[in-house]
Amino acid sequence: MSTLAFVLLYGVSYGLLLCIISVGLVVTMGLMRVVNLAHGAFAAIGGYLAMGLLTPLGVPFGLAIVLAVVAVAAFSVVIERLLYVHLYGASELDQVLLTVGINFIVVAGLTLAFGPNVLPTRLPASLATSVDLGFRSFETYRLLVLGVGVVVIGALWLVFERTALGARLRAAVDNRSMTQAIGIDVSRLFSIAFALGSGLAALGGALGAPLLPLEPLYPFKYLVLVLVIVALSGFGNIRATLLVAVFVGIVDTAGRYFLPDSGSFTLYVLLIVLIVWRPDGLLARRARR
């Protein structure tokens, strides 16, 4: 029983982390209809900035993460205006090629700057502890991630469902031309959404560095997982992303725990089966033939 609770808690914290990274992609893909294979690159840059640059320089842990997120968000707008803007409406092949190209450049850059090995992340002493939950001890940091995850996703949900910006974003995802027709500056909306998405990715990368180790190949390593979560959530739905991400987190954790030999094998197979079965997303109603 305690094992189950442990796996659940572990899986949920992992899932929330994946959700933070993925939800930005859900918005940009649903909104801009761009196959952005470079989303993980922003997560990696965020992580490296926080853990590889700021923290060793002496910046406090939490502040480093915040600064990294802001920096990546700002930087992403520049990239969006320079490169991504040409992908709106472009062919899938173009989108794949360009974003893979960005990935390559980022991987090369990170390797040149930080070396090819995994970046060791040092947690501040206060967080590098374990908490006794009665049935098992649990890393404090994971609980922190859990907490931050809930807060961030909750705040995101509030923004989407309760603010004017959120309404505009949802409208644009739903029907872009109509939204434009009623006078909303869709291209500015795109930039905002892109910055939001990339910032979230950076948060996931930085916050999750102790859990998802940072290495230069990070953008490719988690590519499949993030894309699969996005696809199964049906593009453009935070609630669905959360459910799918947590599902993935729990299944992956359970898989590693109970079937250690097969590694992520079972997870990938399950996800492939799910995509083939429900290409429109797990929660989508089958409206068309």
Partner: protein
């Protein structure tokens, strides 16, 4: 661009400038006898890129997991060889057949999808197979791979020298044969139907075309050719490693094809030597600058040169012809 010709229906037998590539490839054999091993890898990758061209350039199917049939072909061929069957040509055919069979099994399931779900499934299958091969050390040798592929003399006569002369001509022969077959295929009514599916799948459906069936056939054929390329890789390197199933290989093939020009048949054949040539020198300079260069190249290709090197060549030739007319 006004086209008063009917390019698809008027495909002539062989254009004179096509011979250039094959003559160059043959000439290389005589001019650079010390560098045949690396050139053989280029030929193998050119074949791989050709198979991807059939899938992407003609059927319009964007797969990021084309290393899967390549790797299956490679491992299958190596395993058959290590089990005792040392004949080269049949070994390569076996590798191709097994890759093709795999494609026919999963094709009907995944080719129903399109767009992002399809891309992801191809990525996912690639990841699954890579993981599986990694774990199944008893079968694949895991990280260490499968060394020791030995071949009987080709056609009973030509021994496999260390200098790689037999290997080079062997690979070139395969490339030529499969190229001719592919050329024939895309000019056939089936090949035209594929291009119709690429241009407007809904329309093809509504002229009564069994779209899924056509795509499965195309996927099966492309995978068979990729499988043969993988088998050739195993045979000419006498080794198979996990690399053959990696995302890296899938992307390499795609980049080579795009570099040369998608849907031109010669795209992969032009792109592979260029790509690997640049890679060779960039890697000597600094292995990470290589990734940087590829990334920048991809971005440039997307932004500026849509139709690849062959497209550029076409433009230059057209301009030259115009000047000659004046």
């Amino acid at each position: 661009m006004s086209a008063i010709t009917s390019p698809l229906l008027d495909r002539r037998r062989l254009r004179p400038r096509e011979l250039v590539w094959w003559l160059l490839a043959l000439g290389y054999f005589f001019v650079f006898p010390e560098y045949l091993a690396v050139a053989t890898s280029v030929l193998v990758m050119a074949l791989f890129a050709l198979s991807l061209d059939l899938l992407l350039g003609f059927a319009g199917v964007l797969s990021l997991g084309h290393a899967v049939p390549f790797g299956i072909g490679a491992y299958a061929c190596a395993l058959i060889n290590l089990a005792g069957w040392h004949e080269a040509i049949s070994g390569a055919l076996a590798g191709g057949a097994i890759a093709g069979l795999f494609a026919l099994l999963i094709g009907p399931l995944i080719l129903r999808l399109s767009g992002l779900p399809f891309i992801m499934v191809t990525l996912g299958i690639g990841a699954v197979l890579y993981e599986a091969a990694n774990k199944a050390v008893w079968l694949t040798g895991g990280d260490n791979g499968l060394p020791g592929v030995t071949l009987d003399p080709l056609l009973g006569v030509f021994r496999w020298s260390v200098l790689g002369q037999t290997g080079y001509l062997y690979a070139l022969g395969w490339l030529f044969a499969l190229f001719c077959l592919t050329r024939r295929l895309v000019a056939s009514p089936f090949g035209m139907a594929l291009q119709g599916i690429r241009e407007n799948p809904r329309r093809m459906q509504l002229v009564g075309a069994p779209v899924l069936r056509h795509l499965v056939v195309a996927y099966g054929l492309a995978s068979t050719i990729a499988g043969i390329a993988g088998a050739l890789s195993a045979q000419t390197n006498a080794f198979v490693g996990l690399e053959v199933l990696s995302l890296n290989t899938s992307i390499d093939g795609l980049v080579m094809l795009v570099l040369g020009g998608v849907g031109r048949l010669y795209g992969g054949l032009v792109g592979a030597p260029v790509y690997m040539f640049v890679q060779h020198f960039a890697r000597e300079w600094n292995p990470y600058y290589w990734m940087f260069l590829i990334g920048a190249l991809l971005i440039i290709v997307v932004r500026f040169s849509r139709r690849g090197l062959i497209g550029l060549l076409d433009d230059l030739l057209a301009r030259a012809r115009q000047r000659l007319r004046r």
